[in-house]
Symmetry: C2
Subunit: 258 residues, 2 copies
């Protein structure tokens, strides 16, 4: 059975994601909350993870936006993904104890540290929760697959429209207010580095969407005006974002939530 949202609003995005699985129960959430002891605030533009850092903890995003990226010596930068509330940063990287990427905040942000040791405990102490975290990691991998195809096989306009629709749907899922959906704190330089193009071309591409009344810019934020036409423009297929149900055999093996 689905759980009601936790009173603690700051933690709800992760719970919302896990709730969608209809799989964890209150005791799992208690275990999770126990593991997420250290909470930490960041300002916009701060580094959370340095490239090539040794990594002894992973982070859970409670609020705010961040980017995960790689840079070259010559200054080129590729953003691998946008991190939103409910996302987990570097679940595997922490197992390897090394970050091959940097993480930087785009807005004020609340994060919860997830010590490496806890990750190993969790599989024995709360196998259902461990599976749920693996589930989230799987979601992240599916998004990364889509990022490869977006950058590799779509035109500039398609790339941008596709990213916008993805972000919109991810906001919807984590329970962002309807009126706040489709508003992104992204600069055009950041868009360029996500989509693998120069910032000049990112501007031209955005202006083109803007001329077609698909997106606009106000108060430092990108605002989507017509999701449906954006999705049409890039033949958006939302299946890679969908949350599949938990198979029955898995439920049988691990036991249903209370």
């Amino acid at each position: 059975m689905k759980q009601l949202p936790t009173p603690d609003a700051a933690r709800s995005p992760l719970h919302t994601q896990l709730d969608d699985l209809a799989f964890c129960d209150d005791s799992d959430f208690k275990t999770l909350d126990g593991l997420l002891e250290r909470r930490q605030e960041f300002e916009a533009g701060q580094w959370v993870v340095l490239e090539d850092d040794e990594l002894d903890r992973t982070w859970v995003v409670l609020s705010g936006w961040a980017i995960r990226f790689k840079t070259f010596e010559d200054g080129r930068r590729q953003i691998l993904e946008i991190l939103l509330p409910g996302d987990i940063i570097g679940l595997y990287a922490v197992m390897l104890r090394r970050a091959d990427f940097g993480v930087e905040t785009l807005t004020r942000m609340t994060l919860a540290a997830f010590p490496a040791a806890a990750l190993i405990d969790v599989s024995t102490r709360a196998p259902r929760l461990a599976l749920a975290l693996g589930w989230l990691a799987g979601q992240g991998e599916r998004r990364l697959d889509e990022q490869v195809t977006r950058v590799g096989r779509r035109s500039a306009t398609e790339r941008m429209a596709h990213l916008f629709v993805e972000l919109y749907l991810r906001q919807r899922r984590i329970g962002v207010e309807r009126s706040e959906c489709g508003q992104f704190p992204l600069t055009q330089v950041i868009l360029a580095d996500i989509l693998g193009m120069s910032h000049v071309h990112a501007n031209r591409t955005f202006r083109s969407l803007n001329r077609d009344s698909l997106a606009t810019f106000r108060d430092g934020r990108i605002i989507l005006q017509d999701i449906v036409r954006l999705a049409t423009r890039c033949q958006f297929d939302p299946s890679y974002l969908e949350q599949p149900a938990v198979p029955e055999d898995v439920q049988a093996t691990l036991g249903s939530p209370a």
Copy 2:
């Protein structure tokens, strides 16, 4: 302590990868072999996983080459990664019970089926092994990060050189004969779909490397002629392929191999 290679040659690539961790012992390998019951042969050009298939098992590559990819309705295709012996296909996808990608063999291939149920068992029955598999998955994710960067932020020549060096190093790791290293069963159409370019441009790019005596083509295979200069050409940084040591606290928690 490192284990000696298993007598069963066909299974050795996976063991080799796991051996590098110096982490699993004989009983772990026995457990692994027990899980990999169904072995299956494929011809070149066969489908292993259909796009949008329901997925009730994952596969371990024992020998041969394959690609994991996505296609569009209009025929565009993006190859997400090259699969080599020792790689695991869709470890997370199987948890989600759905493949958002296809897998197709490039050569004759031996695969071992890894039933979904076994994945859930393994974390309780052989936690060290479960961790080792997570490790491998982490390696795969790091490669995917690099694929995003390669496609998004490198020139055509850099992309191709970078892919070649990666494949060479991966062959080295899994114990391919020195004389066989740097020989790839890849067509230029496949190269194009990995690197996010047209096959015409893939040809021109390859010809350019060929003119510089960096790579050549013989008997249907690409053959690298000068790894060092290829690596220089794309400022190759091998750190994303390196196998970090198992942290001491992890060893302490799970116990050392016998």
